[in-house]
């Protein structure tokens, strides 16, 4: 059990806006082993970024609040750590790559200084040493070290993202969370960045959580997959299990809505309906309004995530062994 570097148990995060409560993450559970890459897949609004921020305890408060659960990273609960411990952890043991490279970098600091900053924060070294380290990181991500003194606006989107990666990996973190790192980039650049991340991951033996809505990217990079819907994990398993043997109706629907090179189809089959309003989640299974296999039982009772095969878990009454007899 404790080869798990990260273990999220029953995490719930709410956002309080004016009078309404947005339930962004609901009783989410997730495990990650050392050296593994987990793909966290879901539509926009599913709660992926919030989950990621929670791991570093960076959910903006107000308006966000972690209302329950625990996040065990390397043995201790992140949510219970002191401010000082959290600061030590961030950037050093856990790092994050954000979604939009255009806005993730400080416009008035040189890229070199921004990398050097994280080095100095976690290592007792001089400014000069940190700068040298920063230059090494720049080279590592494929940017000429001479560009240390350039500003973010002088770089293209793809190169900015490389800088962000350099910052994230500068202190060799054990866990890297990449939040849609390639969504804002061109497809060709996307390939380069993914390759870079793969190389670095192997080199440093970093565990990674890759957040994305792109199943193609997941196939390239990930060992495990977790499908997220309305703030919950609805299915999780190895890459093969999910891609070849998907069980949850939502997962099946996701795969069905992608254009397929091999098969000839007239139309795509999107999933009918929209994600539920996070301020008014349905009772029972949150997917029930859109599920083609929905029954009355599904509408009234919320299933739990259950392991149906080794390493493959689903949150669905269709596969559950623990269905209660209705009175």
């Amino acid at each position: 059990m404790d080869e798990n570097i990260l273990s999220i148990r029953d995490l719930s995060v709410h956002f309080i806006k004016d009078k309404s409560v947005v339930k962004a993450v609901n009783h989410l559970s997730l495990d990650l082993k050392a050296g593994e890459t987990l793909g966290l897949v879901g539509e926009t609004g599913a709660g992926k970024t919030t989950t990621a921020l929670s791991i570093m305890n960076l959910v903006p408060n107000p308006p966000g609040k972690i209302v329950g659960g625990e996040i065990i990273f390397e043995g201790t609960d992140v949510l219970k750590r002191s401010k000082l411990e959290l600061r030590k952890m961030r950037g050093r043991e856990v790092s994050m790559i954000f979604q939009d490279p255009m806005t993730s970098l400080n416009p008035v600091m040189t890229v070199g200084d921004q990398i050097a900053e994280v080095v100095r924060l976690h290592n007792q070294c001089s400014k000069a040493d940190a700068a040298v380290q920063a230059q090494k990181m720049l080279e590592l991500v494929g940017i000429n070290a001479e560009r240390y003194g350039d500003y973010p606006h002088q770089f293209s989107g793809g190169m900015k993202q490389r800088v962000v990666i350099a910052i994230a990996l500068a202190c060799s973190p054990k866990l890297l969370i990449a939040d849609e790192p390639t969504t804002a980039l061109d497809v060709t650049i996307q390939a380069q960045v993914l390759e870079l991340m793969n190389d670095l991951k192997t080199k440093f033996n970093t565990s990674m959580i890759l957040i994305t809505h792109d199943l193609g990217v997941v196939a390239q990079v990930c060992d495990k997959v977790a499908i997220m819907y309305a703030g919950e994990i609805v299915e999780t398993g190895d890459l093969d299990a999910i891609y070849d043997n998907a069980k949850h109706p939502y997962t099946i629907g996701l795969f069905g809505s992608i254009p397929d090179l091999d098969n000839d189809t007239e139309r795509l089959s999107p999933i009918a309906g929209l994600m539920p309003d996070p301020t008014a989640l349905p009772d029972g299974c949150s997917f029930s309004p859109r599920c083609p296999h929905c029954t009355q039982y599904c509408k009234d009772h919320d299933p739990a995530l259950e392991e149906i095969d080794p390493g493959h878990s689903v949150k669905c009454w269709l596969y559950s062994q623990q269905r209660e007899v209705e009175e």
Binding site: M56, K88, R90, F98, V108, E117, L121, Y151, V164
Partner: protein
């Protein structure tokens, strides 16, 4: 960069000429004969005509204007005061130190108080401090500065006796005038700082900085404030104009021997060359300050520095072009 500065200085010239022209026009068309004013009530018609010739008052308007500008540019001569018959230039220059001191102190006070309060209010949004600061800002902006000055005198000089009500000789004398002039601006600067900081703090790169494990206070000052500086500097620059106006009033109230008081006194006795010279000098100073603010932008924001460096060319706005294509389609 240097090219940019030179371009801006060059661009200043037509503006200053324009200002001088407007001021000159305004006072040229004022009813009353300058020669009469200078010589006083007992002057004879002859004396008046003599003086008019001497001062070149019978020349056509444009010639007079040209001479006026020529004197200023070549000899730094703003003409002669009607009342003292002395050079306006000398009198103005004598008063410059006091006004400059007052202006610098007021700007310093307004900026420091405004920025610090604004940062704290933004970081502790919705706290009591924030609410109080906002109310203070609203009242500060609403009080007419001449009234503030008088109230300060009543409280601190008349009732409490702590500070002198007039004069400018010692630092103690500087406090009330600087407060008077700076108060309204500090409120405006505080509000702008607060809103700029609030916007910056929401940005992604702040989250990036936190994800690095950086301390919150460093984030506030090194990451957030540095990015909020552009709108803050802008508002300080704009406020400066208001502070100049305020200084004129404050100098009257506190009997500060500066340009403002000189001008107010001159207005009341219709000493137009003095008023003219004073306005021009102040407008000139204001323009220089604006230029300095623009240059400051480049040092604060590297993106702007690049813009200044690459080309000084202004992008032309394309006029609306009637599209022939539209006419060609069905």
């Amino acid at each position: 960069m240097i090219r940019f500065i030179l371009k801006r200085i060059l661009a200043l010239i037509p503006v200053l000429l324009g200002v001088s022209f407007i001021i000159f026009c305004l006072l040229y068309f004022t009813p009353g004969d300058p020669a009469e004013y200078m010589l006083g009530m007992d002057a004879t018609e002859e004396n008046i005509q003599e003086l008019r010739e001497e001062l070149g008052l019978n020349e056509p308007f444009l010639v007079q204007y040209f001479n006026y500008i020529k004197n200023i540019v070549l000899h730094f001569d703003f003409g002669k005061s009607y009342t003292t018959k002395q050079s306006v230039t000398i009198e103005l220059l004598q008063r410059v130190p006091a006004t400059v001191t007052l202006a610098v102190l007021s700007v310093a006070f307004a900026t420091i108080i405004g920025v610090v309060t604004g940062v704290i209010a933004a970081v502790k949004q919705y706290s009591i401090f924030d609410k109080l600061a906002t109310i203070f800002a609203l009242t500060g902006v609403s009080m007419p500065n001449f009234w503030t000055g008088l109230m300060l005198i009543i409280i601190f000089s008349v009732k409490l006796g702590w500070l002198p009500p007039s004069g400018f000789s010692t630092p103690m004398h500087w406090i009330l005038p600087a407060l008077t002039v700076g108060m309204a601006s500090s409120a405006t600067i505080m509000r702008q700082t607060r809103s700029a900081m609030l916007e910056v703090i929401r940005q992604d790169y702040i989250t990036t900085a936190r994800a690095k494990g950086q301390k919150e206070i460093v984030i506030v000052f090194r990451h957030a404030l540095r990015n909020a500086l552009i709108p803050i500097i802008t508002v300080v620059g704009i406020s400066f104009g208001g502070m100049l106006g305020g200084a004129i009033l404050a100098e009257s109230i506190f009997s500060v021997p500066g340009i403002g008081k000189l001008m107010v006194d001159a207005i009341n006795v219709k000493n137009y060359p003095m008023v003219q010279g004073g306005v021009l000098l102040i407008a000139f100073a204001f323009s220089i300050v604006n230029l300095l603010v623009d240059i400051l932008y480049a040092f604060v924001d590297p993106r702007i520095k690049s813009q200044y460096k690459s080309s000084g060319k202004m992008k032309k706005k394309a006029p609306i072009v009637a599209t022939k294509a539209k006419e060609e389609t069905t």
